[in-house]
Symmetry: C2
Subunit: 227 residues, 2 copies
């Protein structure tokens, strides 16, 4: 029995396989693992979508840009997530490493051949994608109907949940993103993000620490986020 975290953090189960290592993962059987340093680009928006990427370790920023340079971060990928699953001929977004990352890159044909052979795999891939869609829908609410403070509070709580699926849950939330990245995620400017973070720290809801934030008052933060 092999257990693997999928796209959304849900556990994929492959009966009859032994979990000696990631190499037992049926996906890993058709791709070697690779590494890249932080800030490198895995693939770019508009580039031919010949590959599917599966993140193994690290975090990846997913973003789309307008022609004039305005950028919108549409998500943050975590270990187990698949990128580039879409049935389009070009990538719809840019994937940039936030940390050093390890990932597997698959040839599309091989990938879908593998999925076709294993209906269970296909179902779980489908499930992962609908979960992604649900996340996207929640983010639309954030972008369209929340104010700056609610956006930042929601963001911190969500990122905390995302990390909790990888490592053990903690009050400490690593932020391998710049204020600019966060602003582009939340539809704000970097200055507004900085101001709100400072304000939350002044109110003792969080504490700013190197490369991250420590959550001091989870409940208050939850209320602010308007959950």
């Amino acid at each position: 029995m092999l257990h693997v975290r999928d796209f959304t953090g849900a556990v994929l189960t492959f009966p009859g396989q032994h979990a000696r290592s990631w190499a037992c993962d049926p996906f890993d059987a058709i791709a070697r693992r690779r590494g890249k340093p932080a800030k490198s680009v895995l693939f770019e928006e508009g580039a031919p979508a010949d590959c599917i990427v599966r993140l193994v370790t690290g975090a990846v920023l997913l973003s789309k840009s307008l022609t004039d340079g305005r950028r919108q971060v549409i998500g943050i990928a975590m270990p187990g997530d698949f990128l580039g699953l879409f049935m389009a001929d070009a990538h719809g977004f840019t994937a940039t490493a936030l940390t050093t990352v390890e990932f597997c890159r698959f040839d599309r044909k091989q990938f879908f051949a593998l999925v076709d052979e294993n209906p269970r795999l296909g179902r779980q891939l489908f499930s992962a994608t609908t979960n992604q869609l649900t996340l996207a829908q929640e983010h639309m609410v954030l972008l369209g109907r929340r104010n700056a403070e609610e956006k930042v509070a929601s963001f911190l709580l969500r990122l905390r949940d995302q990390w909790a699926r990888v490592r053990t849950a903690s009050a400490r939330v690593d932020l391998p993103l710049t204020r600019q990245d966060i602003g582009d995620y939340l539809g704000l400017t970097l200055e507004t993000v900085s101001r709100v973070v400072s304000r939350l720290a002044r109110r003792k809801l969080i504490a700013v620490i190197p490369d991250g934030v420590r959550i001091l008052d989870l409940e208050a933060l939850g209320e602010l986020s308007g959950t």
Copy 2:
């Protein structure tokens, strides 16, 4: 050979079936068609997700609400679209009929049993869902990084495309939505939507007609939308 428009407007092809009527659609084999008048609610956010709905005719507004009443429209469903495919126990959004609608309602178990029997169906369902995800990602860019004028212009063009997949393309764009609905879709207030629409009409980019809009200058509108 049976051709059916899927979720995204792409044509699903079922070889060996005859297209005498919609009843040939394998999905229709397990559900009777139903109807509802405009403004009725097909299902509500948070309600137990026991059913999957497939829209046959009409348009449906998909929305999520915050506890204080702020609402965000996350999409507009058109004929062929599936609603409630998510693998969650509760619906993630409310579905409200914009027009009189016809739809099929499926029991989840029967639905997925049907899909499991037909891998081709599963693949096309997957493809439709990734397309939905792509649309959601584009909408995030709109909500986070576009100004009011760009939002309205993009909205009119997108709705035009959506109608084009149902009926024949036309400069006339039906708007079975109120200004409030449009505002909730674009992350604006109804007053701002009204003002922008009036401004576009004053500039002769569009003409306001009963229950809709006529696009006068498609190119200018496209530039405004920042495509």
